[in-house]
Amino acid sequence: MINDEVRPLPVPNDEDREFWEAARGHRFVLPRCESCGHVWFPPYAACPRCLSRERTWVAASGRGTIAGVARFHRQYLPSFPPVHTVILVQLSEGPYVYANIVDSDPAEAAVGLAVSVVFEDVTPEISLPQFRLAQPS
């Protein structure tokens, strides 16, 4: 079980405050460049493609594909006892995000599987985007 008492959490700053405010409302948003249309993550203040600082927040699909699965058999951070599974998800919009598998068995996580976003309320301020295995359609 993850120990939330000592879990390192993001500290919202000027770059990503709006992202975490949306996440608190269980909305998964991504910055999109007003100038060139690029969508990126993490939400750096300026567009990494054209350096424009005009960004808007667009609702992401919340869908992605597992691009990597790592299972920690050794404990590095006090809050994550082994075996702890981390996945890398490629969002359907393109960017990659780290996450955990929730609402599904982490043992079933495998490269290539479709996932969809869910939110884990960790503190009153921080709700983390997480993923569960998508239901076969």
């Binding site: 790592a70 920690f72 951070l77 809050s79 990659y96 983390l128």
Partner: protein
């Protein structure tokens, strides 16, 4: 376009290193990085047939500060000083800077080194000490703190994420990667200075514990103390020195910086860029390479380097490695000292010391016959490489 004849104007003329295996096995015998730096640089200067007074350029790698070394080494009035606090992945770039220094006549003889004390300082990569100390408010950049919230830390786990994708896309069996550790162990068994000198079998590999699955402990490089050093000068000055010079034929870098460290294509594009700059540009082909040297922070780096440069087709390197392709007696010797997996983790610098030995013909039992050209490359946030050739 670099002219082949003018690209070989810089030489490595001296090498020195700490006795990795002896230090590692001696109870409490590991030294500080500063002590290691002093002994390895003195050895490199002596090996070059030079005196300390000849050294007028210094590139300090690994140490957090350069003054303590300069004072103790008596190198207090040199013409050229540079500093790479984190020298590992940048080692071809440090070599490039040394070459630039001697070619621009900023210095005549540059000593450069990387010194570490990972083991005696109980360094654990990725433990994120800032996070542990500060509780839940990580003093980490935004992009790093995003990973930490999910329990993502350590370079090894990023390589594990990438290897899981590689394994899946090529349908590789669990354990296929073990062929790299087996080959590395075979080379290291012939290296008296190596830390891990016992040959590794596939059964040993399968019983090696997972660290970040699918990677096992034998897929990770060592954690040790020590130093690797070399002396660089012009090819012209090298003629007057005792050893057959080893010439720098080409140098190249190609940054591939990702939040998740491992490039999506397993560094394929970066390797093609390096291949162009290191080989094509000076009229060399893969077939001209007598031995390959890889920054083997993880065993996967060897696989992806060989495939990225085109020595093997995507997905095929491990099958060939299992047949002895890169092992002693194989068609393409790779990391002939045992590299960072088995010899020592000096972050590519020990690999370069070995490459100089090979090109001099001084590698003893593990000498690659007729070794004239060695290609080195590292895959990381800043992939970089070089080609060293035997001088006449």
């Amino acid at each position: 376009m670099t002219n082949r004849s003018t690209s070989r104007t810089t030489a490595i003329v001296g090498i020195g290193s700490t006795p990795y295996g002896q230090m590692y096995r001696a109870a409490g015998g590991d030294g500080t990085a500063l002590e290691s730096a002093l002994s390895a640089t003195a050895a490199a200067i002596e090996d070059a047939g030079l005196r300390k007074a000849d050294i007028d350029g210094v590139i300090v790698g690994g140490l957090p500060r350069y003054e303590p070394f300069m004072l103790r080494a008596g190198l207090t009035d040199v013409r050229f000083v540079a500093h790479y606090p984190w020298a590992g992945r940048l080692c071809p770039l440090a070599l490039a800077q040394a070459a630039a220094a001697v070619q621009s006549e900023m210095a005549d003889y540059v000593v450069l080194f990387n010194a570490v004390e990972f083991r005696s300082a109980n360094k654990r990569f990725g433990e994120s000490e800032d996070v542990v100390r500060s509780g839940r408010r990580p003093a980490a950049p935004m992009e790093t703190s995003y990973g930490l919230a999910y329990g993502m830390s350590t370079p090894g786990a990023n390589y594990a994420l990438a290897y899981s994708r590689y394994q899946s896309s090529h349908g590789l069996a669990d354990g296929a990667l073990g062929a790299v550790a087996v080959s590395s162990g075979q080379w290291a068994s012939m290296n008296p200075d190596a830390i891990l000198r016992d040959k590794v079998t596939m059964a040993d590999y399968q019983s090696s514990p997972y660290v970040a699955e699918p990677l096992r402990r034998l897929d990770y490089c060592l954690v040790n103390d020590g130093c690797a050093a070399y002396v660089v000068t012009t090819a012209e000055r090298a003629r007057d020195l005792p050893h057959r010079p080893v010439l720098v034929a080409s140098l190249a870098g190609r940054a591939t910086i990702r939040e998740y460290y491992a490039a999506e294509d397993f560094w394929g594009q970066a390797c093609q860029s390096l291949k162009h700059d290191l080989l094509d540009r000076i009229g060399l082909s893969l077939g001209d390479v007598d031995a390959v040297s890889v920054y083997d922070n993880f065993s996967t780096s060897i696989v992806w380097m060989l495939e990225g440069f085109g020595f093997a087709a995507p997905g095929e390197a491990l099958g060939r490695i299992a047949e002895g392709w890169i092992a002693p007696g194989g068609e393409l010797p790779v990391n002939t000292s045992g590299g960072m997996l088995s010899e020592a983790y000096l972050m590519g610098w020990n690999n370069h010391v070995e490459n100089v030995r090979q090109l001099r013909g001084d590698a003893g039992e593990r000498q690659v016959p007729g070794c004239r050209t060695i290609l080195y490359a590292g895959l990381s946030a800043v992939p970089a490489g070089d080609v060293l050739v035997r001088g006449d």
